[in-house]
């Protein structure tokens, strides 16, 4: 089994810088360009490999690229942006890659830039990732000195420039059009679509915004081919995935595994099962904008295309475990407080609806709620559903709420009948012990 993204990453937290990266086969994909591989060949290969966006949306990368105008009449410059604004709670996979192997992102961006004839790249990094920033800055400086950046690549006329942009907080920056506004030095509110960034993006120019993990895959696809890449996966989506687990399990952590690995394997074989004294109740498969999965879903292959829509979606692949000593209402309250705080305030349903949801859940936790409040919560899952809001933040916020109301209904009702949180004392003790 091959783990192309992480097989060389040091587990002691050290970084691979240029010399070590090149020794391990780094920047080898550039030799393909020298050998005559054209941008359209790279695009075709990425499409055939079945690469899908790793930021949570799972959109096929080849299809996304196909909307970018190409040829001599295409607007210039075009931009490629790495979305390293990893702020989805429970998600830490891009940090592992950027801290451990910063040159992998530089190489991925050069190749994506070449494929799209986009000569300028930005890495949009969340402001809190200081170690990633330091290492990426060093990698960029090394890549300039080695001539991978800033000079025509050997055998081509293509020259790529790359900049690191460290942001200053706010979850909404991860939304691609909000990210574009942030990069332009504006408030990070999302833009109306269409036009899509592929044609009208950064400073009005064609722009591809791509998750960090997605970009790490590209050099490996170019080096080893589409068939090899597809064979890494257990399903029809190509490649491996950075999976992770947090919560009360024996060994929280991250693992690069074939796409299509099940939650049960992750939980039992890799995370070592639940921690002492707690039992599994549910999980969010990929960040907090995904719906809960429960025991009966543990054997589903975790990928983008075969995930049953009635269950939910994979999201970022870094899962958060709900155990039986943690109150599901308190859990969801924490999520909704996050969303209410991080709403950019641009559209009314999100700005006004999310604080209302958080207040209703607080009332439940504190024993002030009635059964009418449960109906109100249900109604919000419809009022803030896709199509009612300007971007995906509020609909994402409704996914865990709606599924919690379905799977943990009795627990919600118990908060009303017992006039408070049945977990409050127990969970306080548990937290002191943890």
């Amino acid at each position: 089994m091959d783990y192309p993204l992480t097989k060389y990453i040091h587990h002691d937290g050290a970084s691979r810088m240029l010399r070590e990266y090149v020794k391990g086969g780094g920047y080898r994909s550039l030799q393909r360009l020298t050998a005559g591989m054209a941008p359209k060949d790279v695009q075709r290969l990425v499409g055939e490999a079945g690469l899908r966006g790793r930021g949570g949306g799972g959109f096929p990368t080849g299809a996304k690229w196909s909307f970018v105008p190409m040829g001599s009449n295409a607007p210039k410059p075009k931009y490629i942006v790495a979305n390293g604004d990893e702020m989805e709670p429970g998600t830490f996979k891009d940090r592992i890659l950027m801290e451990g192997d910063p040159h992998g992102l530089v190489e991925g961006m050069i190749m994506a830039g070449y494929a799209l004839d986009a000569e300028v790249g930005y890495i949009f990094l969340r402001g809190e990732y200081h170690l990633s920033a330091q290492r990426l800055n060093q990698a960029i400086a090394e890549a300039y000195a080695a001539g991978y950046l800033g000079k025509p690549l050997p055998g081509t006329t293509f020259r790529f420039d790359l900049h690191l942009h460290s942001s200053a907080g706010r979850y909404i920056c991860g939304e691609e059009t909000a990210l574009i506004n942030a990069l332009e030095g504006k408030r990070a509110v999302p833009r109306a679509k269409p036009p899509f960034p592929q044609t009208v993006g950064l400073w009005g120019q064609p722009t591809i915004v791509q998750n960090v993990e997605t970009l790490y895959n590209i050099p490996h696809i170019i080096n080893n081919g589409a068939d090899w890449y597809r064979r890494l996966s257990r399903t029809q989506d190509g490649g491996t995935k950075m999976y992770g687990i947090s919560g009360r399990v024996r060994n929280p952590g991250w693992w690069e595994l074939p796409l299509g690995t099940t939650a049960r394997e992750l939980l039992e074989q890799h995370a070592g099962g639940m921690a002492e004294g707690v039992r599994f109740r549910g999980l969010l498969p990929g960040g907090i904008s995904t719906a809960f999965m429960i025991e009966e879903h543990l054997d589903l292959p975790l990928d983008f295309s075969s995930f049953p829509p009635e269950v939910g979606r994979l999201g970022t692949g870094t899962m958060i475990i709900l155990d039986d000593q943690t109150c599901p209402v308190g859990f969801v309250l924490n999520l909704e407080k996050f969303f209410a705080r991080e709403s950019c305030g641009w559209c009314t349903p999100c700005r006004e609806g999310l604080p209302w949801v958080a207040k209703l859940l607080s009332a439940l936790e504190e024993g002030r709620a009635t059964s009418d409040d449960l109906s109100l919560l249900e109604m919000h899952t419809k009022w803030l559903a896709p199509g009612h809001t300007f971007c995906g933040l509020a609909p994402g916020a409704m996914a865990p709420l709606q599924s919690a109301l379905k799977y943990f209904r009795e627990d919600f009702e118990r908060h009303i009948t017992t006039g408070g949180c049945p977990w409050s004392k127990k969970s306080a003790q548990q937290r002191v012990l943890a």
Partner: protein, 154 residues
């Protein structure tokens, strides 16, 4: 007035963008690094440099939570309060900080040593609960470890 060093750093920042205001965040963070926070005067200095209005710049400065429009202490502790850290007891971490230093979220200690702020998921969920002090991230922060941890930040 921007100092020579500040001016030089802002000149460097704008090179990365086709348009000066692209560097707005970089400029705010750069000046904040030198001056601790963004006062109204600092805002005017930066706006003038970027050739945008101070009001326009303030709409950006007030949007991003890592830009401080109020003075902060010599050190800033960011306590992650997102879900993985909540499960593992971030509330107890916050309470311990409050007990030890008599400071609530959003406040600064009387001696100006420490400001405590909540922060969205720090991306260290596998080592929850996590907190960041200035630029340093710590995982598995249990309440009993806080005073030793804080010794480094006088």
């Amino acid at each position: 007035m921007l100092s020579d060093t500040e001016h030089r750093e802002l000149e460097e920042a704008i090179k990365h963008y086709p348009d000066k205001r692209g560097a707005a965040i970089d400029a705010l963070l750069t000046i904040q690094r030198h001056r601790g926070w963004i006062s109204d005067d600092s805002l005017l200095d930066i706006a003038q440099f970027l050739e945008i209005t101070a009001e326009d710049l303030d709409s950006i400065a007030t949007f991003y939570n890592l830009v401080f429009r109020k003075p902060v202490g010599r050190h800033v502790a960011f306590v992650c309060d997102s879900i993985s850290c909540w499960i593992k007891g971030c509330d107890q971490v916050q309470e311990q900080i409050k007990d030890l230093y008599d400071v609530d979220l959003g406040q600064t200690t009387a001696d100006g040593r420490l400001t405590v702020l909540p922060i969205a998921c720090l991306g260290h969920c596998e080592r929850a609960p996590a907190m960041m002090i200035d630029h340093d991230v710590y995982g598995e922060v249990t309440p009993d470890k806080i005073d030793v941890l804080m010794d480094k930040y006088k």
